[in-house]
Point group: none
Chain length 246, copies 2
């Protein structure tokens, strides 16, 4: 039942073999696409298609202007729900580096509904791109009402805590956190930023945090690569018969 062993699959299988048998090792660069196309005697389009298969499988990473690289085995990312910090497990901390870009803007589009503010009310956006070592880890766009926005958030941090601690500084304690999780294809910008295939789904998390009065003090749009992310939520039920809700 193999009606069509197309050339790109034959080539992908061959390169996959070379990776799994160690002929090409993790972190190494593959020959250039032009070279490989010539080696396999196919057009560049076909060869790129073959590499695309391996890219979807997470075996190969493409870096514009540099080449195709064999990826290191993936560390999994664990997102912890509930609005608590830390939001990613300690194991993932090792080499996490967060760069933040701060922009003042006015509420528009879905932000109006998420934050429960009127159109054009002033907001501050914290655009966070984090890397684990040299590989992209996650994207976060955090929006807070301008008057609650902290100052002095560093443009580069070694972990999210620096950012989240600053964010918590000027705002009332959280009373309710709502998180919406969905899987969707990445936008072109997200695919570029996370260096993933545009066919690989991302886990998109929309987090809205409110204080005790019901006022929304923070809305966050998080994007995590779908091939290595788990989102973890724990709910405790307090029973009426006892107090040992823990």
């Amino acid at each position: 039942m193999q009606p069509m062993p197309s050339r790109r699959h034959v080539i992908a299988d061959d390169i996959r073999d070379k990776i799994s048998t160690g002929q090409i090792k993790a972190g190494e660069r593959l020959p250039s696409e032009a070279q490989l196309a010539s080696d396999y005697a196919v057009s560049t389009a076909t060869l790129r298609n073959a590499l695309g298969i391996l890219h979807c499988e997470g075996l190969v990473e493409k870096i514009h202007g540099k080449g195709n690289f064999v990826r290191y085995p993936l560390r999994r990312i664990t997102y912890l729900g509930g609005g608590l910090t830390p939001r990613t497990k300690p194991s993932a901390y090792s080499a996490l580096r967060v760069s933040v870009r701060i922009t003042n803007l006015q509420a528009h589009g879905q932000l109006i509904g998420l934050l429960g503010v009127s159109a054009n009310s002033p907001l501050t956006e914290f655009f966070c791109l984090s890397h684990e070592g040299k590989s992209p880890h996650s994207l976060a766009r955090i929006y807070v009402p301008h008057e609650l926005a902290p100052t002095g958030v560093p443009a580069e941090s070694h972990c999210y805590e620096v950012v989240t601690a600053k964010l918590a500084e000027f705002r009332p304690p959280l009373a309710e956190v709502r998180e919406r999780v969905s899987a969707r294809p990445p936008t072109p910008e997200e695919a570029t930023a996370l260096r993933i295939s545009s066919t690989l789904a991302v886990l998109a998390i929309t987090r809205v945090a409110a204080d005790r009065t019901g006022r929304v003090v923070e809305a966050a749009l998080l994007v995590l690569p779908g091939d290595r992310t788990d989102a973890l939520f724990t709910t405790h039920h307090v029973t009426h018969e006892g107090t040992s809700g823990e």
Copy 2:
């Protein structure tokens, strides 16, 4: 962050608009790829690339030899986390039909770790496939220790409540629910059962519920189509300064 307004995205955006505004209706066939390529004045390869984007988004279905078709709009599925019922929003109830297959088996593989039982201890599996109208809705594999398994679960129900109410009958009240959410490509069986493309991610939810003693009383493996599912989690924080945790 708009590094690349490539033609295929412009075309995909345009066709997506025509679908969402009703210029092209659900079930209709798009013009042939050659025709569209000529309309947009691009090569067939570029046009196919544009359609590929819509295909990944689940908006368009490609049928070899017939054409590209606009998919019928799918009602979104909202999964409610926290172990509470209902688990899907009332709007989705309208025509939900659940078929259940019950199997007794022994703990093996990941089930041992999830349920915290020893290998080969007796379990009961409730394999639930639900449909909304004629289209598949979700898959659920629910595992409970055999001694907690209810009897009299009907093989066909009009909603999940019938099943979950039965499950709650013979077990102690829940104290903690842990839910792990991830996005991954469907297995071939899941793709067949849910009738989705094998390139479209599913939202996979692993739910583990424990009673007050920490004993795991239920483990559920849920699979929902990624193109129409949101998982919603709400966390209430009880502050130390007051009791208005709500």
